[in-house]
């Protein structure tokens, strides 16, 4: 029931050419957390227990929507472009790419790569794979990303994509996990096929239960895909995942209950990997509706939340306080020095009085579907807000249907953003007037003006200034309470080796743990 597309559909870097390193997206593991400094070695079976996976999962790339499908896809498919652990775009099936005007993009297809079936990867296969997500009848979750695409055609060993307007970020689209390269015939891919050109070949798959894959002996990437065999298991219950790891039935688990992280560490049977990123937990308010149309009320709420406490209790310390800022520390123009908002009931009361009220009673609709721990976070929020005279009535909603029934339907809810590596992308999708996912229905004249201006600004300092002003506006005038950024937390068995740097772009090393990690 995750909605990972929202979590951070694109880690855009805002560059026109491939292979540009940016920011501090990755994480250098401290020495203590490192596995034995052995070189990667081949062999072993890597069993992954994931808190995702559904019996309705299928092979159709347009419908992959949870971590299970994503890791499974990453194990058997390649995309055109890969985001490496440092956050750089590097070529995968596209050896390189270029554009003169940002409108016409040429992707040079790597030669000599074969599918599991033995067939060569051709330009036609790439075009068929892209077209699967495009067109009126397409039922892909990323169909709208192809809306500006006018034409996709072959040009020798290259694929040429023409857009209706310049877009410097287009290569980022091509790194999206949905865009698996699959064999085509008659210009179409078979969405029920497992055939790919990725590191592992599917042996068996039971949706919602397990998938087994064996190493692709002909995998083209050197120094990757170390395991002989990969098994991906859906273990939805968090205690069951912990037990599976502790009893040696799996080597990697995700989504560890924060309450148990400390205990697990103390057992010394597993290594906890905690990767900070831009992902953040949000309480958006409907800024059109009373009382949230009054910024004083919004500020009162922002001062009525104890962010430190929440990071400690909801994330078990595996995260960072956020200052109601959707732009995270991994972003280029992150406004680190913005004056922090601490828990201050008096100040909250002050703003409440400014809004002309002594006390306030509002419902907050939450479900753990929004983010894990959302109900607890709501309860904590309600407790601290009470001290400021704000009575938050927590309404627990069913997980099932939360995104349809509650989110953007009720005035005050819990939500989650995976964060965006590029400021413009974050603001455009979540905060620009009229944006589809502007879940606070917020409109701010100055902000919207800056947003357009910053996009075309070439002066780095000015741009930084603009983005920081926008962050300030969102933080102090926006209609979202963002208490914290959460880390990606996972635990591995002690015999699993990882590179020093693990990607902060998506969970589980950008889904690529299967091809980047090894067994010592």
């Amino acid at each position: 029931m995750t909605h990972d597309l929202r979590k951070g559909a694109l880690t855009r870097r805002g560059v026109l050419q491939g292979a540009t390193a940016l920011g501090a997206a990755g994480l250098i593991l401290p020495g203590s957390m490192r596995a034995a400094r052995a070189e990667p070695q081949r062999g072993g079976t890597f069993r992954i227990g994931l808190g995702h996976g559904n019996t309705t999962d299928g092979y159709d790339p347009g419908l992959w929507d949870n971590l299970y499908a994503q890791v499974f896809a990453a194990a058997r498919h390649n995309q055109l472009i890969e985001v490496d652990a440092d956050g750089q775009l590097i070529g995968e099936i596209a050896e390189s790419w270029e554009s003169d005007d940002g409108k016409t993009w040429v992707f040079h297809i790597r030669q000599g790569v074969t599918f599991h079936s033995g067939k060569d990867v051709t330009v036609a296969d790439v075009i068929a794979s892209l077209n699967h997500h495009r067109g009126d009848d397409a039922t892909s979750a990323i169909k709208q990303f192809f809306d500006p695409v006018v034409e996709i055609r072959a040009d020798g060993q290259s694929v040429v994509v023409t857009l209706d307007a310049p877009n410097g970020d287009f290569p980022y689209l091509m790194s999206d996990y949905h865009l698996a390269i699959m064999p085509g015939s008659d210009g179409k891919i078979d969405p029920t096929s497992t055939d790919g050109c990725g590191p592992y070949i599917v042996e068996s798959f039971e949706p919602g239960v397990q998938a087994s894959l064996n190493r692709n002996p002909d995998y083209w990437k050197p120094g990757r895909a170390h395991f002989d065999r990969v098994e991906i298991l859906a273990i939805l219950d968090s205690a069951a995942r912990l037990n599976a790891l502790m009893t040696g039935q799996v080597e990697l688990i995700d989504q560890i209950d924060p309450a148990t992280i400390g205990m697990l560490e103390a057992r010394n049977v597993a290594r906890i990997i905690s990767i900070p990123g831009n992902a953040h937990y949000v309480f958006p308010m409907d800024s059109r509706a009373a009382p949230f149309n009054d910024n004083n009320v919004r500020l009162a709420l922002k001062y009525a939340i104890d962010r430190e406490d929440m990071v400690e209790k909801i994330l078990g310390g595996h995260g960072a306080v956020s200052n109601d800022n959707p732009i995270g520390p991994a972003n280029r123009y992150f406004y680190a020095d913005m004056e922090p908002k601490t828990f201050d009931p008096d100040r909250a009361k002050y703003y409440l009085r400014q809004a002309g009220m002594d006390s306030l009673t509002i419902p907050l609709h939450v479900a753990d579907a929004a983010f894990s721990g959302a109900v607890d976070a709501g309860a904590l929020f309600a407790e601290t807000a009470r001290q400021a005279g704000i009575n938050i009535n927590l309404v627990r909603e069913p997980n099932d249907g939360y995104w349809d029934n509650v989110w953007m339907q009720k005035p005050f809810v819990a939500s989650y953003w995976g964060g965006r590596a590029v400021e413009d992308h974050m603001f455009t999708t979540g905060y620009a007037a009229g944006a589809a996912w502007n879940d606070s229905f917020w409109e701010h004249e100055r902000f919207n003006e800056l947003l357009v201006k910053a996009r075309s600004e070439v002066d780095e300092d000015l741009r930084r200034e603009m983005y920081q002003e926008m962050q300030r506006i969102v933080s102090f005038e926006g209609a979202v309470v963002i208490p914290m950024n959460n880390n990606y937390v996972m635990a591995t068995a002690l015999n699993i080796g990882t590179p020093d740097q693990i990607s902060a772009n998506w969970n589980l090393d950008g889904f690529r743990c299967v091809e980047r990690w090894w067994m010592t």
Binding site: S238, A239, N243, A259, T260, K313, D376, G378, L394, P398
Partner: protein, 306 residues
């Protein structure tokens, strides 16, 4: 060590129950004395536990050292003088939540079971009394509902109708009512063939009178026994629902949800979740001890009369 404590606790509890029974015998009015006299020790123990629970539920605000929802410190503090049973994952006082939990849990379970019994038994008695197509229609429908796994059905209904405490009560009651219907109907089928029902029918009595005055008083004993069991199972249903992602509204403390919230800790041998689970188990055992005694009495009296 733990077992020793447990054994000691059981012995102590039964000793206390024995004392209580003796005291009750001295103090109770004469007409109750004979009923109390044949009370087995287990029933005395059960009554004692139930009385304590009711007292705790009623006096929760007086007994609990902290408010139910208040965050009083950091999470998972160990047991201490200030926080008798430590704190929970949000830093709320565990002992206070257990005490308030008695109120919410017992209250919700009682409301749910009562509703299920009112609806289920009235329909069941009515079906048994009227027979014919009414009985057939109701029974076939109830049969069909019972053929749907109850937990999944509750899940479905709660997703449709939302998860306020009221809907929770209504949904669990509705699902439980089908079970009650079956029992009530089969009990009543044994009663409606009695001559006194025939006499009342021949007198020209209406269905409502027959159900209320003639059948219900005689069907009460088995229904009460079932009430005892069903009452206890409501917590379990709430707990299972919260396992599947639906449960009681926070920040209300409810034992079923408290077990779920802290369940992962048992993986590390931490006994926090045992406290609410134990509270449920103790009440279940106590209620059923009393129910067994009452059933035994009911059947014993019948033998004497016959």
């Amino acid at each position: 060590m733990g077992w020793l404590f447990l054994a000691f606790g059981i012995v102590a509890a039964f000793g206390l129950a024995a004392l209580l029974r003796r005291a009750a015998l001295q103090l109770a009015p004469a007409e109750w004395r004979s009923a109390l006299a044949d009370m087995p020790l287990t029933a005395a123990f059960g009554l004692m536990v139930i009385a304590i629970y009711i007292f705790v539920a009623l006096a929760a605000p007086l007994l609990a050292p902290f408010p139910e929802r208040e965050v009083v410190g950091s999470q998972f503090q160990p047991w201490s003088l200030q926080h008798w049973l430590g704190t929970d994952r949000l830093g709320r006082d565990m002992a206070s939540r257990l005490i308030y939990g008695a109120r919410n849990t017992v209250g919700i379970a009682f409301a749910t079971t009562a509703l299920a019994f009112i609806v289920g038994s009235l329909l069941g008695l009515w079906a048994a009394l009227r027979g014919g197509w009414l009985d057939q229609t109701l029974s076939r429908f109830v049969d069909a509902l019972m053929a749907i796994p109850s937990l999944i059905f509750s899940l479905l209904l709660l997703t449709i109708f939302g998860t306020s405490v009221l809907t929770l009560i209504l949904v669990i009651a509705a699902v439980d009512a089908t079970r009650v219907y079956r029992i009530a109907r089969s009990v009543a089928q044994g009663i409606v063939v009695m001559d006194y029902i025939e006499a009342a029918r021949l007198r020209g009595e209406g269905s409502w009178y027959l159900i209320r005055r003639e059948i219900l008083p005689n069907a009460l004993a088995p229904l009460v026994a079932e009430f005892g069991l069903r009452f206890c199972f409501v917590f379990l249903t709430i707990s299972s629902l919260s396992f599947l992602g639906l449960g009681i509204q926070p920040p209300l403390a409810d034992w079923g949800s408290m077990v779920r919230e802290n369940a992962t800790l048992i993986t590390f041998g931490d006994i926090t979740p045992l406290l609410p689970a134990g509270a449920i188990a103790l009440l279940t055992v106590a209620v059923n001890f009393v129910v067994d005694w009452q059933l035994y009495r009911a059947s014993g009296l019948k033998e004497q009369a016959g």
